[in-house]
């Protein structure tokens, strides 16, 4: 599998998010605040984010890890860890 940098993973995550919730603007995201409080994202949107991440990053995120994706910072940390990137 191609190794991705942290910046690439961050960009991928933001792309996926914006594809699901068009109002997401990377410039205004507070990286340490819950995404669901900042944007109109419900459980169906969130599941679709998980599905797209599965498709683009080839990682299977179990339900028990969903909380790891609560904020932008935490999500990137988690995805970097799962993708084995640096």
């Amino acid at each position: 599998m191609k190794m991705r940098t942290r910046d690439e993973i961050r960009a991928t995550f933001l792309d996926v998010l914006a594809a699901i919730a068009p109002e997401v603007d990377p410039a205004i995201i507070a990286p340490d605040k819950p995404l669901r409080e900042q944007f109109d994202i419900d459980s169906m949107d969130f599941l679709n984010v998980i599905v797209r991440l599965h498709e683009t990053l080839a990682i299977d995120i179990p339900e028990s890890d969903y909380a790891e994706l609560a904020t932008l910072d935490r999500a990137v940390d988690y995805l970097v860890r799962r993708c084995g990137a640096g």
């Binding site: 919730a21 068009p22 109002e23 109109d40 419900d42 459980s43 169906m44 949107d45 599941l47 679709n48 998980i50 599905v51 599965h54 299977d60 995120i61 179990p62 339900e63």
Partner: protein, 386 residues
């Protein structure tokens, strides 16, 4: 202006997706119309070329009014209009084909009683049906085909945008909800349901599944609500002409919030007969189209009841406003850890507050209470919900 529901007498054209000279294909979304049931993408029912748009965005016109004229394939503008497609509006010029369903009786396709009944059951717009052969009577086969196409039709057309669209949606919601509170004597019931078992069952089930196959927590609730309605049919159907008309089918209207405000509650048909996987597929599909602003006229049918799941926003319970002419709305709040007393000891359990707002003309609190009790019972045996 097509009719998109029993209580619709007019609609407001919100936006055109086509302009004069555009070639259009049958089933293509050509316009967005605001109705009392929300904003709907209107599909065209024959191939051709748009000749003229007759109604400006923002204008409200009665059902049957001509929205635009169409030149059929192989037809020239100068050709005489076919008798079946005489525009309803007297002032309208001779049209080769009206975008709205033809209202002239002369050439109107007839429909067999069995087909009409089936169309009502399946929520197929009779006016939009076309027989398989020219001048033939619309048959059950035609209805089934239309219902199937409605389910499988790819989403086409562009998204309606702008503040105008949302302003229209507010007008539609205001009209429907005002009518509800004016006409329907609501009664409200609530009960706390222990959902520890169904929650654990779903977590175990999802652990076995790939991400794309996972079920949302709402899905088993949808099935349980649909099954419980079968046992208390007074909550499933319509109040019309001073009487309750029960529905043998359970078409579960799912209240779905729209981006930027507003909501719609389109039906998931025969929710009581679908598996959890089928319900998940249907719900995903429906949410995607609602969020994309792409609900289609062929997908709008008459839900027999509404289900609202406001727990997402963190509320404990929701006391809904019934969507007329329905007679009930079922609500679920968020699932939370709450203390429960079991065998004299306090234990932590997953609990959800289920509510029912129902029309007292059609049912009484006793039966409404029974519904919530049945819902509770069904949720204790999630393996049977498949």
């Amino acid at each position: 202006m097509p009719t998109l529901g029993a209580d619709m007498d007019a609609g407001t054209l919100v936006a055109w997706n086509v302009k004069p000279g555009d070639a259009v294909k049958r089933g293509q979304v050509v316009a967005v119309v605001e109705t009392q049931k929300g904003a709907i993408d209107v599909e065209i029912w024959q191939d051709g070329t748009v000749e003229k748009l007759m109604v400006e965005p923002g204008v409200k016109v009665p059902v049957g009014a001509v929205l635009a004229t169409l030149i059929a394939d192989g037809e020239t503008v100068a050709a005489p209009a076919s008798p079946a497609e005489t525009p309803a509006a007297a002032a309208a010029p001779q049209a080769a084909g009206a975008l709205s369903h033809p209202t002239a009786a002369a050439g109107r396709a007839r429909i067999s009683p069995a087909a009409r009944k089936l169309a009502e059951e399946l929520g197929v717009d009779i006016e939009a049906l076309v027989p398989s052969a020219a001048n033939a009577v619309i048959s059950r086969v035609d209805v089934e085909r239309a219902a199937k196409e409605a389910k499988t039709a790819p989403a086409a057309g562009s998204k309606a945008t702008g503040a105008d669209w949302h302003a229209q949606m507010r007008v539609a919601i205001a009209a429907a909800m005002s009518r509800s509170k004016r006409e329907i004597p609501h009664y409200y019931l609530e009960t706390d349901i222990d959902v520890t078992v169904v929650g654990d069952w779903l977590a175990a089930e999802n652990l076995k599944r790939s991400v794309a196959q996972r079920l949302l927590p709402v899905v088993p609730y949808m099935k349980a609500v649909a099954l419980a309605l079968r046992e208390v049919p007074e909550l499933n159907g319509f109040w019309a002409d001073g009487a309750f008309r029960p529905s043998s089918a359970v078409h579960l209207g799912m209240a779905i919030a729209m981006r930027g405000g507003g909501l719609v509650a389109p039906a998931i048909h025969d929710a009581d007969k679908k598996t959890l996987d089928e319900l998940m597929v249907d719900l995903r599909d429906l949410v995607m189209r609602v969020r994309g602003g792409r609900l289609r006229s062929s997908e709008m049918s008459d839900p027999t009841v509404t289900f609202t799941n406001l727990g997402e926003q963190g509320v404990d319970g929701v006391f809904g406003v019934i969507y007329p002419p329905q007679v009930a709305i079922v609500g679920l709040g968020k699932v939370s850890d709450r203390p429960r007393v079991e065998g004299g000891a306090v234990v932590a359990r997953k609990v959800v507050t289920a509510t029912l707002a129902a029309d007292h003309r059609a049912s009484d609190g006793h039966r409404g209470g029974l519904f919530l009790a049945v819902l509770d019972r069904l949720l204790q045996e999630p393996e049977k919900l498949r």
